[in-house]
Subunit: 389 residues, 4 copies
């Protein structure tokens, strides 16, 4: 931890405010719905990030703190088995109360309590500092989910309403494609140093890599269209067995949010419903699709080690990049004790690691060692493809 008290408090307040800014374009109704299990209602994100500060910091550490509403813990707990009963995840979209305004009141109360308490430097012990920091980063993660969940909510509505015309998610891939070569050898992987990181990035350790090449650019929509037009979605041999079952069961024929209207390819974006931007990096594809695309090109996805070893040599941050690596503990990984130990470790099975960051990732949130993870069939995040060989 290297920031001063004032800096940490500013960072906290700015983060709290940013979540609210992201929701500005919404109608009350948009805050409420949960069209699929993975997509939480925006009001739930606003309440849950607040509950996190209240439950892990204020209730446990601030002397005389008065809980805002004892039932909110039940409503806004996400998955912490050790923190008591909670609304089952699939029911979040069934709750009309507390209302959006009541949740904003709750946010304001908790933010004010934090501000009041943390303004006094002597309260900012290393333990509290560390908890506040994890609370900030937790909220930043939910900021990205706010954007991807809002996209799902609006982008699956038959009226296809625009979120914000100024939101630019499709910067063209401007570099010409080249292969970056790395030699065989031992590389150091993982986080080291005083800056914040999650426990799953620790600790720095050696990995032996064979020689490999990795692309400096992401796969574009134009390139992905070639795969579709060549029958990629009809050729079982390009797919994992489970990927093929997923394609068939869901009649998948294109990335999520793609439409064909009168023969024209369109896609829904947070900036509105628009003709498909061919130069933009392909997005909203599952790992299964990323793998099948690479197979079809006679190439492959990089491992997360290759990605981290090579990442200084290319630009990243537009799309979460599927890697071939499964999300597993690094050597020496141990879970933190108690509820915060539930943050990462218990998800280390049946998921794939993604690296980089996306247009929806909050400022100062990602880094070269950051390990994101999703199940291989999921597509509602801003995912993308970088090839290796």
């Amino acid at each position: 931890m290297i920031v001063s008290t004032t800096a940490l408090l500013d960072f906290l307040l700015e983060t709290r405010k940013h979540s609210e800014t992201l929701c500005k374009p919404l109608q009350i109704e948009d805050y409420v719905v949960q069209p699929i299990e993975d997509v939480s209602p925006p009001k739930w994100h606003l309440g849950h990030t607040t509950w996190f500060f209240e439950d892990f910091i204020l209730k446990k550490h601030k002397p005389g703190y008065k809980e805002y509403n004892s039932q909110f813990s039940f409503v806004f707990n996400s998955y912490y088995e050790s923190m008591g009963a909670r609304v089952v995840r699939t029911d979040r979209g069934n709750l009309s109360r507390p209302t959006v305004n009541e949740i904003y009141d709750y946010r304001n109360y908790v933010t004010a309590q934090l501000k009041d308490w943390l303004s006094d430097e002597k309260n900012l012990t290393p333990e509290i500092e560390s908890l506040v920091e994890i609370g900030i980063h937790h909220e930043k993660q939910h900021q990205e989910l706010l954007l991807t969940d809002i996209k799902y909510i609006l982008g699956n509505n038959p009226l296809l309403p625009t979120y914000s015309e100024s939101f630019q998610e499709n910067k063209p891939v401007s570099d010409s494609q080249k292969w970056i070569q790395l030699d065989a050898g031992i590389y150091e992987i993982g986080h080291e140093g005083p800056d914040f990181c999650y426990d799953n990035e620790l600790s720095k350790h050696k990995v032996y890599l064979n020689p490999f090449e990795i692309s400096n650019t992401l796969v574009t929509n134009a390139e992905y269209l070639e795969f579709i037009e060549a029958g990629g979605y009809e050729d079982a041999l390009l797919w994992h067995s489970e990927g093929w079952a997923w394609v068939c069961a869901n009649t998948i024929k294109a990335p999520q949010y793609w439409h064909t209207a009168d023969g024209v390819s369109m896609h829904y974006t947070l900036g509105g419903y628009k003709p498909l931007n061919l130069k933009a990096p392909v997005t909203h594809i599952s790992y299964y699709e990323a793998f099948a695309y690479a197979q079809w090109r006679g190439l492959r996805l990089p491992t997360e080690y290759e990605w981290e070893a090579a990442q200084e040599h290319f630009n990243w941050g537009e799309r979460w990049e599927w890697t071939e690596s499964a999300y597993l503990p690094y050597p020496g990984y141990t879970k933190a004790p108690g509820a915060l130990g539930e943050y990462n470790g218990k998800f280390m099975v049946n998921q794939k690691t993604l690296r980089g960051g996306s247009v929806a990732t909050s400022a100062n949130h990602t880094r070269p060692t950051y390990r994101n993870f999703f199940h291989p069939h999921l597509r509602w995040q801003f995912t993308g493809i970088r090839l290796a060989k």
Copy 2:
């Protein structure tokens, strides 16, 4: 049809207004959610009843009518296969748009167009009169669903918010229980005359009934508690095979909305969360429960014919009363041609008939020949039990 033009228009406007009055106590968020498939979002009811008038009357019959929004037909069609594509029923709660305010604008537009057009007496042909009348009764049916769906939405929220303190749903059963005896013989069943009725009530026909007795009162919460305390929910032999499977799969132990808190029996009502009213008629029970209760008493439910033959001799209207009858066509029943033929006939399988009406039924909506119908496992309506032998 016996009302004058003015009377019909007044009836229409009053009906349109009443739907909105029922929603007055709601927060915007309450309009949006669909916690189970059977419960539609209140905003959907407001839109769907409006679409009905627009699609069946204005678009087809009013010269030069300009459709409000061509996509609303897709959003607000309920089940009319012959009226085009529609949002699947389970997705109604995933739609944040159109917003509540946009739907009120749509309502106002359609109501104004109807008012404008129907004010001119010459437009009120018998066909239009009949369509307007069915539209009014259709909206009245949805008014009852509005109340039962709102009860489900609020009554399944962990905060148990009150809908309206003035809503009285539990009038005590004041009469002392007696058996009304009817002789064997031929009775006339079904609707006759110029007043409005649905096609499923037509036509008046003869039915032979054996001698029977029917109770003048509904079963009370106190009486139903005896069944629970005697182990009624644990004795398979009291239940239908499918009823028992339903009890086991859903761990049913009491009527819906009953709670036990610190040993005290409570129930959620539209008037708030309250101690169980022992003298009120039991409600929110499935047909399976009604049947098992009667078995346990050594009695039975009446058929719908017995109910109709005897109904002059008792008070009814507090609860929809499950009958032993399956919902089937009367002799000579024929479906109306086209989309309105989908109103009733296609539901005549696997459902039970209910007779009477409930505290949630709109004024002037029910009558002695009215045939309501639900699947035997459903409980979210204000259902109740009248015994026979």
Copy 3:
């Protein structure tokens, strides 16, 4: 009960033997499988009908009876909640043991014990007589299920093996179609007299019928083909709402066991895989299909009362005939006490009544008052259509 001791014993032994005769053409493997929940393995039928005699008669009434194998009760109980734990229905096809030979040994043991005991006239009290009689009729019901389940097992095997070339299930409809007219009035419905019947046929009671006409013949395959060719399976308006959902979910396009090979219509029969017999009565159709067919013809299905009132005027017994009636208790119906009370009454919800009998029905099993019942979507029985208007 009107037969002598010897006659009853002969009837019993002949019935026991007939079940075994029906299984003669089977390979051991055919006795074991359960391709869908409704179809039980033939060896289960052989064991279950034996268990019925052992559990309801020998164990309870024969002094000193030694149970054959105490675990068989768990294996061969079907649905009697009051008779203890049992293998769940969907698991019957997972049990390779007891083997077929072990089950035949069990049958022989129980049959011999019955024969030994019942040969002594003084053991044949009225109670035992009545139990033996119900056991015989119970086994006859399972004989029909043996045939329909064998048909399902072989007819869904890709090799389409023949059961027995001598089995004739498709006698042509030879009479020319006529309408039989019945007058309005009170008819007596239900069983009366000393002969055996099930409790659901009791007691004889009066029903008022409106004037109606009923066909003297069953609908033929040729007539049903017209419905298919006219697009009957694509027109939602002909179907119940639940029927249409069933058609869509299962992509139903023809009766069960129909195939099209190189443009020729074929059907699988117990006598082998053959060209469709156009003059035979259509079979293996659900109630939904029977109803839709009648709608398309502008006609309807008879009620079970109409069927019974008119049945003397036409031939029946080739197909179980779907009626429009729901399977409900007759006036005055009461369940027998104890386990035998579970025989019929607990199925009286969500099922339709079928009347008549089929080519698979055992001799001396059906009668004019017999009430068969199945869920409306089921097709594996030899069902058929008789029209009314």
Copy 4:
């Protein structure tokens, strides 16, 4: 490939014969059933391994070969998308035909055809040699599945029949537990040389390992009982999130095949139903259980690289040992072209690698580089736990 023609043919005939020897103790009925999707009927294994030789070798390469039965390809194809239509996996247990005897006839025909053809040395080209060899190893894999599937079929039958009293699956762990230490450094992992291996073991490559310790013994039933008695199955924090959901949904409380009868711990084994052998290695546990057990001990599972690097220092072969590694392609892995390319690669997602071998593994089938793989929830294989730290 290092064996002579005669040796290869002997190896083939001996392998073919062994599959049949394994089935000797079965009753015909045991060959037929499929109690869960993962467990195939023994007769299917016998047919499928035969089809593999017929379809990949005889039909393609033996001049003038006459196919035994053209429909068997549909019945016995397992998952080769490129080899045509096939019976869906869940339907294998619904097929009573072909009978067991017909399948033995099919086996004999194909074995004789192979013997006849391969006896002539000039037919044994390197391509054919390689195909025969993969066919042999394919059949050996199915021999292990025969045993584990038979165990499931008999061990889930309420009669708990013994497979073979001479089958010994529970050799006590006799060594005393010690920790084997390995230094950090680069290790060579994977197969090299002329002996047979699967494509997923290729090619030999360098891996950097941190210093680690690995146990010389497998976890015993006695040790696992301590975990159960300490409440391991009730403590959510020991489990992966998906593991905990699996425990709750299936009410898992012990390894598969464990029973408690009158307070005594018993387990079903292929040698019969017996008191739990406390000194034997624990078996039939899922990866989730292996992981939770290790967490509870404050230890972990080894990676597959650690296992391979250390395996010379301990005995293995009693149980398939869950590793922490996901089943992923080695560097440079490429799928074979055509149908054989479907053998391994398409399963490389969402599965865990297991190393070693089990009491059910056929002779000469496993090796230090062998990579077995299963989904993390599966337990019907002879799986076990070796700890690391």
